[in-house]
C-alpha cells in the first residue's frame, strides 16, 4: 500500500491532527502505521499536530475556510479549549474525522459524567492522597494576578463527544483504532473513495463475537468472576466462564485482539450498527446467561458485577441515552 506514486505532481493533501480530552494513545496509533506515516508525510502537508509537528493555533486561524482537506480529531470535549479548536478546525477543514473512542462516543474521559464537576475538582485537587494536606487551591477559569487577569480553559460540567459540538463526517472507532484500519482509511481519503457522510469507517458490521475464534456453547452461569479470580480456559468463550466480556454488544473490526490474547472485550469499537445504546444491549446480553429463576439468587449473582455501569459504558457514556448522572 504505497501512497507516493503521483504525489509529486498532485497537490498535497492538507491535513491537521488534533487531540481534545485524550491520552495521546490515538496519536501513537497514527504513528503505529510505521513507515506508512512517511508516505502520508510525502503525500500530505501536516499543518497542525500538537504532539509531533510545530504548528500553532494562530497558523490555523490564519487559514482560509476549507483550506484543510482533512482533520483527524481524537479525544472528547471536556473544556472550552477542546470545543473552540474543534469549531475552528471544522471551519477550516473539508473533512472532519472523529478518530478513536473518545471523539466517537466520549471514551474513557466520558466516565466522569457519572460524577459532578464539583466532585471531580474536589477529588483531584483537595482529597486525593497525593495532594499536600491542607491544599485549598482549585483551578478557576480566571484568576487575578498582579492586577491583570490570567485565564485557563473552562472545565465543563460534563464530557461531550465530538459530534455534540460540531458536524462530523466520519467516525473511526477504537481505543485506539487498529493500525491497519487507520492505513485503510487514510488511503481511501487520498484516493477519494469515501463512503456516505456519517459512516463509521475502519470497522465491520458484525459483533466481536462473530469474529472471535473461541468456541461457544450454551451460556449459563451461577456466578461472575473478575478476570483475576479465575484461570480462564484459553479456548472457550469468556462469558460462558462467567468473565464479563463486551463482545456481544460491540462492533468488530479490531481484529479481536483482546479476546485472542485472553483479555475480555472492553467495548471500544462502540455499538453495533443501528444500536442506540451500547450499555443497554450489553446489559441484556449479560443477564440473559444467568442460570436462575429465583429473584433473590439473581440479586446475589448480580452482586458479582460491581460497577457494571462503568463496564457497560467504558467508552460510550456521553453517547448513551441518559448521557450523564443527574445527581446534583
Amino acid at each position: 500500500m504505497r501512497l507516493r506514486g503521483d504525489a509529486v505532481t498532485a497537490p498535497k493533501l492538507q491535513v491537521a491532527l488534533y487531540w481534545g480530552a485524550a491520552c495521546g494513545g490515538c496519536d501513537v496509533a497514527v504513528l503505529d502505521t510505521n513507515e506508512f506515516i512517511l508516505d502520508v508525510a510525502a503525500a500530505a502537508d501536516i499543518r497542525l499536530w500538537p504532539i509531533a509537528v510545530d504548528g500553532k493555533y494562530h497558523d490555523v486561524e490564519a487559514m482560509a475556510d476549507g483550506e484543510l482537506d482533512l482533520t483527524i480529531f481524537n479525544g472528547a470535549v471536556r473544556n472550552s479549549e477542546n470545543e473552540h479548536i474543534a469549531k475552528l478546525l471544522r471551519q477550516k477543514s473539508k473533512l472532519m474525522v472523529a478518530f478513536g473512542s473518545c471523539a466517537h462516543l466520549g471514551g474513557i474521559p466520558g466516565l466522569a459524567n457519572l460524577a459532578s464537576r464539583d466532585e471531580i475538582m474536589e477529588a483531584a485537587y483537595l482529597h486525593n492522597p497525593s495532594i499536600e494536606p491542607g491544599n485549598t487551591t482549585i483551578p478557576h477559569p480566571e484568576t487575578a494576578f498582579n492586577g491583570s487577569p490570567l485565564t485557563i480553559p473552562q472545565f465543563y460540567k460534563r464530557v461531550y463527544k465530538l459530534d455534540d459540538v460540531i458536524d462530523v463526517d466520519y467516525y473511526l472507532p477504537g481505543c485506539p483504532p487498529a493500525a491497519d484500519q487507520v492505513k485503510a482509511v487514510l488511503t481511501a481519503v487520498v484516493a477519494g473513495e469515501l463512503p456516505p457522510k456519517g459512516s463509521v469507517v475502519g470497522a465491520s458490521e458484525r459483533a466481536v463475537c462473530d469474529d472471535c475464534e473461541r468456541t461457544k456453547h450454551e451460556k449459563k452461569v451461577k456466578r461472575f468472576y473478575r478476570p483475576w479470580q479465575i484461570m480462564a480456559d484459553p479456548d472457550s468463550c469468556l462469558l460462558e466462564q462467567g468473565i464479563l466480556c463486551a463482545g456481544p454488544a460491540t462492533r468488530s473490526g479490531c481484529g479481536v485482539r483482546c479476546p485472542s490474547s485472553g483479555i475480555p472485550c472492553r467495548g471500544c469499537y462502540g455499538p453495533l450498527p443501528n444500536v442506540r445504546d451500547q450499555g443497554a444491549k450489553l446489559l441484556s446480553a449479560v443477564v440473559s446467561i444467568i442460570d436462575s429463576k429465583d429473584p433473590e439468587e439473581i440479586e446475589q449473582i448480580v452482586d458479582g458485577l460491581p460497577d457494571f455501569t462503568s463496564f457497560a459504558y467504558r467508552f460510550s457514556l456521553p453517547s448513551s441515552l441518559l448521557q450523564r448522572s443527574v445527581r446534583p
Partner: protein
C-alpha cells in the same frame, strides 16, 4: 398546581394488559397517571425502552408481566426478572431514584392489583417530585 407524575407502563399482552383491561371493565377507580403501552411479553422490554422513556421525560417506568411460571411464552418473564436488578443499579448510577423503575407481576384476573400498583407508584412519585433527566439533558445543550 400539584405535580402529576407521568408514568410509562409497559404491559404484556397476555396477563397484565388483560388485567388492566379488567380494572377498567370492573370500573375500578385508579390514578390516571399511567400511559400504557402494550407489548407481547415483558421480555420484549429492552433496557433501551426504559432509558428512552426516562430521557424523554417520563417520571417513572412500570413494567408488568405474567407471574413467574405463567408466561404465555413459558420463560419470557424470567428474562425480564433477570434484567431488572442490574438495570435498577445502572439507573441508580445515573442518579435516577429507585422508585422510578418498577417491575410487577399482574395476572389477567388481577384488575384490583394493577389498580393498587398504579395508585401506589403514582403516590410515591408525587412525593418524590419530577424526574430531572430531561431537563438536565436540555440544559447541557445550552450551558456547558
Amino acid at each position: 398546581m400539584t405535580f402529576e407524575p407521568r408514568i410509562v407502563g409497559f404491559l404484556c399482552n397476555w396477563c397484565s394488559y388483560t388485567g388492566a383491561d379488567l380494572a377498567g371493565t370492573s370500573r375500578i377507580n385508579y390514578q390516571p397517571n399511567v400511559r400504557i403501552i402494550r407489548v407481547m411479553c415483558s421480555a420484549r422490554i429492552d433496557p433501551t425502552f426504559v432509558m428512552k422513556a426516562l430521557a424523554e421525560g417520563a417520571d417513572g417506568v412500570l413494567v408488568c408481566g405474567c407471574h413467574p411460571g405463567d408466561c404465555h411464552y413459558t420463560e419470557g418473564n424470567y428474562k425480564a426478572m433477570r434484567r431488572y436488578p442490574l438495570l435498577k443499579r445502572l439507573l441508580s448510577d445515573y442518579g435516577i431514584e429507585e422508585e422510578r423503575f418498577r417491575l410487577e407481576w399482574v395476572s389477567a384476573s388481577e384488575g384490583k392489583r394493577f389498580a393498587d400498583i398504579v395508585d401506589d407508584m403514582t403516590e410515591r412519585l408525587r412525593e418524590l417530585g419530577p424526574s430531572r433527566v430531561k431537563a438536565a439533558l436540555a440544559t447541557d445543550a445550552a450551558e456547558r
